[in-house]
């Protein structure tokens, strides 16, 4: 279990994270959503011990993430492709495995497993610079799984990858969940969070704006459904909190209906309702 209690981090005048608290259950996939500059990466960096919070605490199974023993339980997939492009995939994995002090036998087994897990076993001897963006992302994931971590922090792992590689990454994340791993996942893509995450936290300007399951968030922050009807009386649309009942009532009043659409709120609506529509570049 991960317990984050009131963590804050300031860089000069910028309050990157402000009194943020989250509890993540073992074996869950937790999604951290937010616009650019919301504080997602800073939060994840504090959760995995890469950055020390100014205030607050982070505990992984009751231990600090910076403890040497706890570090063996953490896997970080950075936002950037944190690999040595001049080296082969095998060289990269071998080097990162050595940092965790794996025995030769375990190291070979884990390297083989990781490459197979991300579907790169056939390209293991190629230099990373020859890989496509999607393959690099997958190897980036493999390099973080060598030491069989219990907590896996993924910072926008699907940024800039093709649909096939993205799909493979989704499958990998769900497989890791099946293996009992606890996963913290930051993303811009709402459909990823809807598809993968057990619970979601929305952050903006360093603050946690909402926390819950996808359904809970839609219910709490999604707003009304949008109904659009085209009939002999022309086009009409309205917003309603109870779309089924209101739609049925309206249809009883009409003799013919040419077109009908009902748009329920989703996570994107929640996101825009919470963080606004202003551009964040």
């Amino acid at each position: 279990m991960i317990e984050v209690r009131g963590i804050s981090k300031r860089y000069g005048d910028l309050q990157a994270v402000d009194n943020l608290s989250i509890t993540i259950e073992k074996g869950h996939i937790f999604g951290l959503l937010g616009p650019n500059g919301a504080g997602k990466s800073t939060t994840i960096s504090m959760m995995c011990g890469l950055i020390t919070p100014d205030l607050g605490t982070v505990q992984l199974n009751g231990e600090k993430p910076t403890d040497k023993a706890t570090k063996h339980k953490i896997g970080l997939i950075p936002q950037s492709i944190a690999l040595y492009e001049e080296l082969t995939a095998l060289d990269n994995l071998s080097f990162f495995a050595d940092l965790y002090g794996l025995s030769a036998k375990t190291k070979n087994e884990r390297m083989e497993w990781s490459l197979q897990f991300v579907g790169l076993q056939d390209r293991a001897k190629d230099t990373v610079s020859e890989y496509s963006g999607g393959m690099k992302r997958r190897l980036n994931l493999a390099a973080s799984l060598l030491h069989d971590p219990e907590f896996i922090f993924m910072d926008e792992p699907t940024a800039g990858v093709d649909p096939q590689s993205r799909n493979k990454l989704f499958e990998s994340v769900l497989e890791l969940k099946d293996l009992g791993k606890t996963i913290i996942y930051t993303t811009h893509y709402m459909e990823e969070a809807e598809k993968l995450c057990d619970r979601v936290g929305v952050v903006d300007k360093g603050q946690l704006l909402a926390l819950g399951t996808v359904d809970e968030l839609i219910e709490q922050h999604g707003g009304d459904s949008s109904v659009n009807i085209s009939s002999e009386q022309g086009e009409e649309s309205f917003m309603t909190a109870n779309p089924v009942n209101d739609l049925m009532a309206r249809l009883r009043e009409l003799t013919t209906v040419d077109n009908l659409s009902l748009r329920r709120p989703n996570l994107e609506t929640v996101f825009l309702n919470l963080t606004g529509k202003q551009l964040r570049d």
């Binding site: 890469l50 970080l76 060289d91």
Partner: protein, 432 residues
């Protein structure tokens, strides 16, 4: 320690993957040392061997020989007294001394009798190549005394009269030889006089043809060698100067390469992976430092191996190891410092290049320290390159004692420790 070794191995592997880095770290320094060493060596050779000549005989013949030495392109002659000549060679300012002892002129003229003219040559026994060259060149000059004798018929007749008298008066010549020469030389004189009579007036000095010099079994010169223990106050050869300079270029290549690689860890994000591993920041930085040090040690070993076996550079092994260690510490610290104060690969490359080239210019990596004007030698004190070159030269040709080695070694180590401490401290603060 396993993680530190893994870091070092990874960085060395990355270094060898970068063809430009390999060129500037391993090939360029060798080319530099070889190119400039060859230029300096060949220009020295073209000016001839530097010899000190002492004429103790002071006869017409000995003066002719000294004049021939002066005119020969193989030599650069300094005429001086015996003591000065020996001192010049002992102190390494001249390659060899040549002393013409008393009696040289008398024997120089004797063709058919007496002893060959003797000269005393003193040279450092280690300079085998120069000794061989010197002996050959002197023999070539010695042959000229035969040319002198045989090319002038009047001179020849004079020599024959002198030799006939000498043979008649000789007590120790075997009777058979005495009989043969007493019969042969007067006939030879008679023949020469007849030939001379046939020549137009004044043509006697143009010479007579008696066959080639190669048929004459007599020695042109008798060379007595004397080994001189040279006081080593100068470089053994030009490579002794250019190899330390090449080593500095190699070390600078390593520093730039590793500073860039450390900054690249930050820009790529691999530093986060390293920081997430169950190793301390000190271990991470130690791995980087060890990688840089190991690369330096490899290239220095390569250069000095080539220098020893191919370029005839000699050094004190222990002092050289000390110099390599101290220079390694110094430049690893410099690498760490520049990697800590820059954020991008471009800025670290630009800043490190600018700093090291400036330090190299004033520190003797381009112009040898001893060739710099006095004011520049004073300015060079601020350059770590100067102290590194001084340490290497101390082990190669300056013949530093261990006490003398202490100054450059201590300065290099101090620079290294201070810059390493500041660099690691700043890197730590940035990561916090």
């Amino acid at each position: 320690m396993r993680a530190v070794i893994a870091l070092m191995k990874k960085d060395i592997k990355l270094l060898f993957k970068d063809k430009m880095a390999v060129f500037f770290t391993f090939i360029f320094p060798l080319l530099f040392a070889f190119f400039f060493g060859s230029i300096f060596s060949s220009s020295g050779g073209a000016q001839g061997l530097k010899v000190a000549v002492t004429d103790l005989d002071q006869t017409e013949k000995s003066q002719v020989f000294v004049e021939q030495l002066n005119e020969a392109s193989e030599f650069r002659v300094t005429v001086t007294d015996e003591a000065s000549a020996k001192e010049l060679v002992r102190t390494g300012k001249q390659v060899a001394f040549i002393i013409l002892p008393e009696g040289f002129g008398e024997n120089y003229g004797g063709i058919f009798s007496g002893e060959p003219p003797e000269i005393l040559v003193g040279i450092d026994p280690a300079r085998k190549a120069e000794a061989g060259y010197l002996e050959g060149s002197l023999m070539k000059l010695g042959i000229k005394r035969f040319e002198l004798a045989f090319s002038d018929a009047n001179e020849m007749i004079k020599q024959l009269d002198f030799s006939i008298d000498d043979i008649q008066q000789s007590d120790d010549m075997p009777a058979e030889w005495k009989s043969l020469l007493s019969d042969y030389l007067p006939k030879f004189k008679e023949l020469t006089e007849q030939e001379l009579a046939k020549q137009p007036d004044g043509a006697g000095s143009t010479g007579l043809n008696f066959g080639s010099d190669g048929d004459n079994p007599m020695m042109p010169l008798k060379i007595t060698k004397e080994e001189v223990m040279v006081q080593k106050t100068g470089p053994r050869n030009a490579f002794s100067i250019t190899i330390p300079q090449g080593v500095i270029w190699a070390i600078m290549g390593c520093v730039i390469g590793f500073a860039i690689s450390l900054v690249r860890e930050k820009t790529l994000g691999t530093i986060d992976r390293l920081a997430m591993a169950p190793i301390s920041r000190t271990q991470i930085l130690a791995g980087k430092a060890l990688g840089c040090f190991a690369a330096q040690a490899m290239v220095v070993t390569m250069l000095f191996t080539i220098a020893y076996f191919i370029l005839d550079v000699r050094f004190d092994f222990i002092k050289l190891i000390l110099a390599v260690l101290a220079a390694g510490i110094c430049f690893v610290g410099v690498m760490m410092f520049f990697a800590s104060i820059t954020k991008t690969e471009q800025s670290v490359a630009g800043m490190t290049n600018a700093f090291l080239i400036l330090m190299g210019m004033i520190g003797g990596a381009m112009i040898p320290l001893f060739a710099m004007p006095g004011w520049m030698q004073s300015v060079s004190h601020i350059s770590p390159v100067k102290w590194a070159i001084l340490a290497f030269e101390g082990a190669i040709w300056r013949d530093f004692s261990y006490i003398e080695m202490m100054t450059p070694l201590a300065i290099l180590t101090a620079i290294g420790l201070v810059t390493f401490f500041i660099g690691t401290r700043m890197l730590k603060l940035k990561q916090a």
